[in-house]
């Protein structure tokens, strides 16, 4: 069975950086950010974590949820960039694979509050939920009849969706896959991460010595993946390749990473092995880099051990917040754009290296020396997932 690369022929991004992949990359290089208190919902917290809201994302008729609306916007952009005319393909050979956390949960709080208060709410929220699984909803919208599934691996969902979609192409299940991730900000994860004492009331500072925690974000990214043969046959505008993917669970703790990065190292080795690359071939690391003390220490030290003191480490969560199920997909797109542009942006919020990590993140625009990079995601459940991406 093939282990080769799959082609990325289109990308679409929605996040606090704005609408559009190219605009997002430009803003990452420029280095501006504006997290704030939540405006999309209210919460009563002892200490309020800042968030990055994707306020530029308009509603989409028929989307059913903000999560799906952002996924639809990203998919439309990606399809246009790929110059892919779906009617020219067999709809049974086009898949949809999206990572999400809230998108496949029936956590409509208003509905639940009525039920909790024994007020017999109407069933509309439930019907909407049954129609709202993001991957199935996107497939239905586009008339696709291939495999469609939402990946629920918490914060690694977007990365794992891309890894699974790559496997579908290599296994011959599909000719093309719309893959990525999507998640809206809502009260459940906001209150949940607050209860875990993982959020920061200040703009987050990935890998910085004084980091205090994460800022939640939201958004969506969709990448069009095609087999090398299919992309070549239709002279598709190849924007990069997914050359390897690895995932591994820590088997250590429900919410904390293994202190030695056991699973992350295994996932990295697996991804590099699939790509046929060595650590020295990796130009930069797009880290999970949430700015929580535990994540950044484990991840930073693991990257130092694998890639050495010269490793170029960047976290884009300082500019987007942690977009949960969308994060890995957004970051894969950002990674490919940085590889193609030959420069990666600053890690916003990073100033002083943490001696407990021993590896600094980027402080400014940094030249990319090489053609390959990795993008990491770590998640609840001890999930670790790594993509190897290569420029066009």
């Amino acid at each position: 069975m093939s282990q080769g690369p799959v082609m990325v022929t289109g990308m679409g991004c929605v996040s606090a950086l704005g609408l559009g992949a190219a605009l997002s990359h430009q803003r990452l290089l420029e280095g501006g950010r504006a997290p704030g208190l939540p405006t999309l919902f209210r919460a009563d917290c002892k200490e309020y974590g800042l968030v990055f809201e994707a306020l530029a994302a308009p509603p989409v008729l028929g989307a059913g949820s903000r999560t799906n609306a952002m996924a639809f916007l990203a998919a439309d952009e990606a399809l246009a960039a790929a110059r892919l005319e779906l009617p020219s393909l067999d709809p049974a050979r086009v898949g949809v694979c999206l990572g999400t956390t809230v998108g496949c949960s029936l956590n409509d709080e208003v509905f639940y509050r009525y039920f909790h208060g024994q007020e017999m709410p109407g069933p509309e929220a439930f019907v909407r939920y049954l129609s709202g699984n993001p991957a199935q909803a996107l497939a239905r919208r586009l008339g696709l009849r291939g495999p469609a599934v939402s990946v629920g691996n918490a914060c690694a969902s977007g990365t794992d969706a891309l890894g699974l979609a790559r496997r579908w192409l290599l296994d011959g299940l599909c000719d093309a896959v719309l893959a990525g991730g999507c998640d809206e900000l809502c009260r459940t994860p906001y209150l949940g991460f607050t209860s875990l004492l993982n959020t920061s009331p200040e703009p987050c500072r990935p890998f910085d010595r004084a980091r205090r925690g994460l800022n939640l974000g939201e958004g969506a990214a969709v990448l069009i993946l095609e087999s090398a043969a299919a992309a070549q046959a239709r002279k598709a505008p190849v924007q990069g390749r997914i050359s390897g993917y690895g995932s591994a669970v820590d088997a250590h703790h429900a919410t904390a990473p293994h202190p030695e990065g056991r699973g992350l190292k295994a996932a990295t080795a697996r991804a590099l092995g699939e790509a046929g690359l060595k650590p020295a071939d990796i130009a930069f690391i797009n880290a999970h880099g949430t700015a929580t003390p535990a994540n950044d220490q484990v991840e930073g030290r693991s990257m130092l051990e694998i890639f050495g003191p010269g490793a170029v480490l960047v976290s884009t969560k300082g500019a987007t917040g942690h977009a949960l199920g969308a994060a890995g997909a957004l970051e894969a797109a950002f990674t490919l754009m940085a590889l193609n542009d030959g420069q990666v942006g600053p890690t916003l919020g990073f100033e002083e290296m943490d001696p407990a990590i021993g590896l600094a993140a980027t402080r400014a625009k940094t030249p990319v020396k090489g053609s390959a990079a990795i993008s990491n995601s770590l998640a609840f459940g001890g999930q670790n997932s790594v993509l190897v991406l290569q420029r066009a």
């Binding site: 069975m1 049974a92 956390t101 496949c104 949960s105 029936l106 956590n107 709080e109 639940y112 509050r113 039920f115 017999m120 709410p121 069933p123 439930f126 019907v127 049954l130 699984n133 991957a135 199935q136 497939a139 291939g146 469609a148 599934v149 939402s150 990946v151 629920g152 691996n153 918490a154 794992d160 699974l164 496997r167 579908w168 290599l170 296994d171 299940l173 009260r187 459940t188 994860p189 209150l191 949940g192 607050t194 209860s195 875990l196 690895g246 995932s247 591994a248 669970v249 820590d250 088997a251 703790h253 429900a254 919410t255 295994a266 996932a267 998640a379 609840f380 459940g381 001890g382 999930q383």
Partner: protein, 350 residues
């Protein structure tokens, strides 16, 4: 792929043998009859509830302290599948074992326990434990923690299509050599909100809307967890094999002609008349729904029932006519989904 071990947590009992014995009865032990109040009046639901009986053989009480019942079912089913395979995983084997899990609804009770705390006691009282248990991959976390599994992991959700996705994922990992074995898991739980929503939605089956499978089965709510330990097809004589794993756009009537029997998960809402009725009329259809109720991941239980039938040389649930299976007989499991697709898994034993 070969099916190396089967672990079941079900209303029929826990473990492959209890499940098999239960399928030999006339119907399943419905554990609760509920009258659910809706704005349109009361609606009767039948619940098929599962338990975690037997988990103490595999896990200490201390290790289960923060685990909810759904997580316990998943860990128990996975442990039973390893036991059924006669396999104790060493350190190297734990790194070469993957987890491919399917759930239709995810961890509902943990989600609503989280919201209960928020509603009753305020936002500041949100529970970190309930939050951690509410994510879809909480079950993967419980299995990996309980059994030390460190391979790749996917939790996949697409309602009734979920089991097929977990099996595709497992097959891809095995055939690419990513792992040596995969624990594939399929399960759903029920909760008060789901039961209410089923009852309330049943009053208004809106034309053209994606809704629950509309027939009597929708009001028989199943719960439980099925785990299959899968390995690559090594050509072993006598091995239980999962062959085709197909998604079709047209009704898979040829499956009924090709296989000795077909386990069906069908509904009554589509096309002229009822898909369920037309399939059952074909003569070699069998269904586990009267024993287990209905849930999005029911196809995983059908595959387990088909595998056990092949193992025992006898079809259960028993169809009309002979239940004996001959060498070379194959079985299929067909799931109709409400988006117009059909998911077919084929099993045989050499």
């Amino acid at each position: 792929m070969e099916i190396l071990g089967i672990g079941i947590v079900s209303p029929l009992g826990n473990g492959a043998e209890a499940f098999w014995q239960g399928l030999g009865r006339e119907h399943g032990p419905a554990t609760a009859e509920r009258s659910v109040a809706t704005s349109q009046g009361p609606r009767a639901l039948t619940l098929f509830e599962s338990s975690d009986a037997g988990l103490e053989r595999f896990a200490s009480r201390a290790s289960l302290r923060r685990m909810d019942s759904f997580g316990k079912w998943a860990l128990l089913a996975a442990s039973l599948a390893l036991e059924d395979a006669g396999l104790a995983l060493g350190d190297a084997e734990k790194r070469r074992t993957g987890l491919a899990l399917a759930t239709g609804y995810g961890c509902q009770n943990a989600t609503y326990a989280f919201l209960d705390e928020v509603i009753d006691h305020g936002d500041k009282c949100a529970s970190p434990t309930h939050f951690a248990n509410s994510v879809h991959n909480a079950l993967a976390s419980q299995i990996s923690l309980g059994l030390g599994i460190q391979g790749p992991c996917q939790t996949l959700s697409a309602f009734e299509q979920s089991p097929m996705h977990a099996l595709w994922c497992a097959r891809g990992w095995l055939e690419s050599g990513t792992v040596d074995r995969v624990l594939a898991g399929f399960g759903d739980e029920s909760c008060g909100l789901l039961e209410y929503a089923i009852a309330a939605t049943a009053q208004r089956p809106a034309e053209g809307q994606r809704v629950l499978p509309w027939n009597e089965g929708s009001f028989k709510v199943g719960t439980g967890y099925a785990a299959l330990l899968l390995g690559p097809d090594g050509g072993r004589p006598g091995a239980l094999r999962l062959g085709c794993l197909e998604q079709l756009s047209a009704p898979p009537e040829q499956a009924f002609a090709r296989h000795r029997a077909v386990f069906v998960q069908a509904h009554g809402q589509r096309g002229p008349g009822s898909l369920h009725e037309s399939w059952m009329a074909l003569g070699n259809a069998v269904e586990t729904r009267p024993f287990l109720g209905a849930m999005p991941t029911s196809q995983g239980f059908d595959i387990a029932a088909a595998a056990l039938s092949l193992r025992h040389g006898q079809l259960r649930p028993a169809p009309k006519g002979s239940a004996l299976l001959k060498p070379g007989d194959s079985l299929a499991c067909v799931q109709a989904d409400t988006d117009g697709g059909y998911h077919v898994a084929c099993l045989h034993k050499d």
